[in-house]
Amino acid sequence: MIRKIVYSIFLATIVLALVMFFAAYPFGKNKMTVGEYYLNNGVAQTGASNIVTSVVVDYRGFDTLGEVSVLFGAAAGVAILFFVLAENRRERKNITSPNFVVKVGSRIIFPFILLFGTYIFIHGHLTPGGGFQGGSIIASGFLLLYLAYPGTRVSRKKLSAVEGLAGLTFVLLGLYGLMLPESSFLFNFLPKGQLNALLSAGILPIIYIAIGFKVAAEFAGIVDDMMCEVICRGGEK
């Protein structure tokens, strides 16, 4: 019991110290310096109307490359941990098959979820949303399939192919930037097009589409491993 009190006092001191620090930077105050630059000439330099997307993909594109490789690392890690040699995979017998409504409903909704997800990451540079959000929506679409048809298995080869391809396009786009005279990674070399048009903002939509596929494939992979963990391990404790 004393442990709880002692630790809560510790946490209280941390919170107090944080509050003291942030007292100097009140909530609504404009703390931007680099942010001003992005807002003022973000549209001119990247052509995307959604400034957050231009920051995520163009200005700080290297972060997103890192972030995508973190996701790849997680998917690979989960695959390693749940790896089961092909020969001792067993179908789980007593899976309660969901009732009829779920089966039919999911078959109808699934294409719409895919459509909605692709809409989000295609319009990443125009409307809020982008590769990550679109990809995760598509992944939850796959989830729906697992719930409706427990036995379905997405072929891991295709998933890792999509994953690899998307990652390759991202890095190759970046490397191509190095070939150019400006020679800097992830340089936006395609024409910017005019604002709010679908094909504007140079390489941003291409990258966001690649990220969309990658995130969808990886989250689907993770969920597939988890569900396979439940199904093909035979579920014994």
């Binding site: 959604n50 957050v52 997307t53 995520v56 989000i120 809020p128 949303g129 982008g130 990550f132 959000q133 995760s136 929506i137 992944a139 939850s140 989830l143 989250f219 993770i222 969920v223 988890m226 569900m227 963990e229 439940v230």
Partner: protein
């Protein structure tokens, strides 16, 4: 705008405490999902639609599903 955020934040904190204290793990995970849903609402209030969508779809949906699969594989209730 201030009052809505007060209510939402207090609700979020209550849900967080609940999700920690609940014995039934599934309920705890659902409570955690609810907190991240409220957080995505807060992001909307903070004029950050991108992040709200990301938080909703990744934080609330996918993480919660993965947790529930995890709980199904292990024990349903604490102790």
């Amino acid at each position: 705008m201030i009052y809505i955020s007060w209510i939402l934040i207090i609700l979020m904190l209550i849900l967080a405490v609940v999700s920690i204290q609940l014995k039934n793990l599934i309920a705890a995970v659902v409570a955690m999902g609810a907190t991240s849903l409220i957080i995505s609402l807060l992001f909307l209030l903070l004029q950050a639609p991108d992040v709200a969508m990301a938080e909703a779809s990744i934080g609330a949906a996918l993480t919660m599903i993965i947790y529930i699969i995890g709980v199904r594989e292990t024990e349903r209730s604490e102790k």
